[in-house]
Amino acid sequence: MEQYLTLQNIGIATGFALILIGLYGGLTNKNILRIIVSFTIFNSGLNIVIVALAYLKGRVAPIIDDTTGLDNLSQKFVDPVPQALVLTAIVIGLGVTGVMLAYALKMYQNKQTLNINDFKETKW
Amino acid sequence: MELQLLIGSLVTLAGSVFIFLGALGIVRMPDLYNRIQAGTKASTLGTILSVAGIGIMNPDWAGKVFILIAFVMMTNPVSSHTLARAAHHIGIALSKKTVVDKLKEDGPEENKKED
């Protein structure tokens, strides 16, 4: 039990839990705004999983300053590439959320309802 | 050096005590306005003290700590005031212990000029 209790595993487990909670909320709710809220929770969980996978025990953030020195950096830093990807993912997540919300607002203005079962035209 | 660390940690401890009291106040107080009073204000002082203690322990960080304190002190009362004003506007009730409500007696607000 003790060897599983690392920072990385805690992060991965939390992220998975958030992903499952978000999926459950997205699949069971009828209200379109609640589905979008579930999507943002799902998004946060996914980001935590990716960053936690990049974490290495006992290493520090990939920014050079007085405490890190200049040599042997690949032995000291965590992986910077997944962090960069997650950074972009968060910004794109905001764009996607904004588009979904604008779409929901437009549908509400047309039909005065938020229940997704009432939007039948685009069903396939 | 040792003394500096000790003073800084004691200031941080005082700040965290205030944070805890603020959180306790937010649970115990009977209505919204008193919650804002006890909760947000005490924890603002607590945060300022905690951050200042950390600034005392690391003198190199003083600039950022100073800016952080200034930001918190400038922004927090504005948000508290806006929240209290909104709450009173939609008529959230004050608790039973309330003595006087001058704002309600004076009626709804007249059209005021912004300058």
Partner: protein, 231 residues
Amino acid sequence: MYKNILILALLVGLGILLSTAITDREENTSLPELPAYYADNTAKEVGAANMVTAVIVTYRGFDTLGEVTILFVSAALIAMFLKTGNRRKNRNPRPSSVILSTAQKLLFPLIILFGAYVFANGHLTPGGGFQGGAIIATAFLLWLMANPEGEMRHGILSSLEAFSGTFYVIIGVVGVILGVGFLNNSILPLGELGRLFSAGAIPVIYSLIGLKVGAELSNILHHLNEVQNEE
């Protein structure tokens, strides 16, 4: 109701499946080859102290260009969805108090300055164009809070966005002309590590990205603000 239980059962199964990722995974002890290369060579190749910035702006510059484009497209989509004929007919929001509007006037330049600090120091401290852009959008939002019916000069935002986007591409093309590659930062000289002007063109590129992102997010907020209220 049966459907919910079925979904719950499915998700529990998925959770059990995912939990093997914790129990069966071997602990990594060293970086893979590419990140190790980045970590060892960023300081002398790019001159940036922050490796995430180096990866975003230089090594993966194309991706960032695409990302800015995605943000632009989503802003345009939101504008398209929300374009209604009779906007701002009977929105009469409650005016803000004197305290909020005065505090807004005092805080607006400070927030803009902090955003500028975040993206000008993106190669030394955490932060960069996207965060700085979000901070600038927040300053704009504060302005909207204090003057909910204020008339915005729409031209400034659009021209700022167009200007920064164009210059971003021009800087990339200058790199091609000088023969160092699209969006390479060494078109400006590298300096001593840890100084503000150390990383070649990274501060310039990141400032442009920051201005563009800030203008786009402000545009989204402005469009959302102008939709007619439901009564």
